[in-house]
Amino acid sequence: MAKNAQEMAQTHKAISISEFFEKNRHLLGYDNKIKALLTIIKEAVDNSLDACEEARILPDIYVRIKQLDEERYEIIVQDNGPGIVEKQIPKIFGKLLYGSKFHRHRQSRGQQGIGISGAVLYAQLTTGKATEIESSTGDGNLYNFRLKIDVSRNEPKIIEKGKAPNEDAWRGTRIKFIVEAVYREHKQSVLEYLKQTAIANPFANITFDSPNGRHVFVRGIEELPKEPKAIKPHLEGVEIGILSRMAHQTKARTVSGFLIEDFTRVGKKTAEEICKNAEVNPKTPPRKLVHDDFERLIKAIKKTKLINPPTDCLSPLGKDALISGLKKELNPIWVDAVVRSPAVYRGWPFQIEVGIAYGGDIKGSKVMRLANRVPLLYQAGDCAITKAVTHIDWKNYKLSSKDLSEDPIVIFVHMASVWVPFNSESKESIASYPVIIKEIKLAVQECARKLGIFLSGQIKAREIVERRRILEKYADDIARALANLTGESEEKIEKAIKELVEWRWGEVQEDENDAQQ
């Protein structure tokens, strides 16, 4: 039966983000029960590491996965971070898109404030169970909550709340989820995620009690990385919608002041040049700007030569930490790392660092992709890192196969940025900006060259051993022939040949005179 417009209008209503998520959980990494388990742990561990780092605490992370039923698991993630103040706990865990990281431009693991509350919602949707949170800032009180999310309002629903004396002054946060999930230890597993996390965060201690036993990733260095700084956005990447929103929220009184104060690296001269080119009076109050003004401003910004954003806001792992992480977790025979200088995409500074580990305990080849110290385990094919690495002909670097299919090698690529351009909300792959691919490629190639030098040394060493084998192989026959010719003792000659080989076998014998041979 046909409906009229009025009837149709009745069916239109706002949807809450929680409702949206309920129907579109795959967008946040909950496509299946195996991946869901990983996503939950990832969100919790990322938050713990972010919090520890911001509070300058060396992290001790404890993760436990316990099977309760065939497809039902209890997940515990506990840290020694700064703890969460009582009144923030419900919102952080019980409201989607609530966070401290979205509006500031600073390198961190989390970005959107959607992850951990998404995990709470997933638990609630699959098992109906509330999530338990215990936290203390290290004072006398230990707070505990049992939380759910009111899906239609996107607000926390407190099922139970308690306060206990914190007698031994424990500090940190502990979360317990009960979810429907499946635990596997394949290549895109919790175990692999924690291993890569341990490599990328060698200053953290991570203990993992899996359903199959305990794994301990011991801290390799005692130093936290440099604290990243927050920066204002850069004009280069700004789009019309963002510009108009920022203009309406700014505290500045003039357009020129708005450009100078709300963006990074804009001076008076640049601001005036932009206004002149856009035919906008620099003294205009930003709130009075209309759509046409913004369009002209955007055009003018594109024409103006802008100073690159500052790059001291980034905190790469650094060469030593990277090497330390790869060594302790992979036990390779060779490892090295390359840290590129910062570069800029669409106004956002970013930095690429690459570590390569070869041989030793490594079996087969693997590319480890990381963004802001977080391992990316899915959507490898869409990732800028995969694209950059697969375009390299590895035979040029003395590896035995063009595509690494026969080499024991781990290529670890980390992108640090105040804003990592992910292909989707579930943050599984990096978007393929040409400048990002180029930077990755240059870093990988530089590191691969170092590996190539090592490998050609190895090849040479093998050749020397082979040469010795050939020389010794003929000793017996030659000794017998020479003994017959000279009357000397065969044993004596053979012994002397072997001594000669021992003495001189390492020498490189070039074919200096091959005209006749």
């Binding site: 040469r467 030659i478 022939a481 040949i497 014998q509 091959d514 006749q516």
Partner: protein
Amino acid sequence: MPSSKAKSQKSPSEIEKKLMEMAKRIVDDIYAKRNPAIELPIRTLSNVYFDEVSKLIRIGDRKSIRTYMNMAHTRKFMQTVLVASECKKIMDQQVTTSVRDLYYALKHTIKGSKENTFDDQSESDPIIEDLEAALNTLREELNLKTDRKGYLAGGVMINDMGDLINAKKMGSSGWAIPSNVEPEVIKFEDVSADYILVIEKDAVWQRLNEDKFWRDHNCIIITGKGQPARGARRLVNRLHKEHNLPVYVLTDADPWGYYIYSVIKQGSINLSFLSDRLGTPEAKFIGLTTEDLKEFDIPKNVTIKLTKEDEKRIKELMNYIWFKPKEWQKELKHMAKEGFKMELEALSSKGIKFISKEYLPQKIENKEFLP
């Protein structure tokens, strides 16, 4: 019984001494922890020259050093020592053996590997030549023989290890020329012939033998069946040197036939160190030439079109210094220009006995030779 043992031991020959000296130097190198080396004359075009005085191809001074520690040489070094040792063994036993026997005597799997000392005879033969060159000797003096190749008939009485052979009474097959024709084995008792005719092809030799050409023209006819082996070349060299017999060569009119002539005359690149013993610089080329087609009115339809390879080989011959005489340059140019070659059998188109009754007598009578 020490006395009988002492009796059976002969004193080592000059060649044996050279072999032992070479081995002694190698052993001294090994004891002194030096890289053991064998010095070998280089036997390629880059190290031969044409001696204008003797008119022979001679080997140059350049040597290659085959060393044990050079991976590109190691296997050949081992092979050289093995061949040297085997030669000493057979000389000790005072027997001779064929190069094929030597190959089999030395071929075995190297202990602790799947590798053979020699994979086939083409590996051991060049080593023998290396040793001949290094010791400046003939393989026959190393008690090695090659397969017999080549036949002879005509006015010569040969003493072959005490057996008297009349080369006029060899029937239809002729006397097979042995590998070793050195004076210790072969002596010429009586030489009645006036000259030697060397023929490339066995079939043509048989024709001339059947026609008793050697009797009618008082000569010796020899065939090497293609490129003559060293026995035949050495025999020609000795008959010429010791009995002053002129030597005439008859081959196909093609670059390969002309090269056979040049090897009989000047020696070869590969055995350039033996040219004194194997070359006969006074030999003359009697035919065939492409000019003969016109001169003897041979029908054009018996000629063969030159192949690409023939053309390439003609160019190479024209560049060899021993083909520089103007008569040869003229002939080669003519062949290339006319684009044909001719086999000896083409003469049969004028009648089966044309070669023995007309062609050769006329050429020899008029001294129509190429130098």
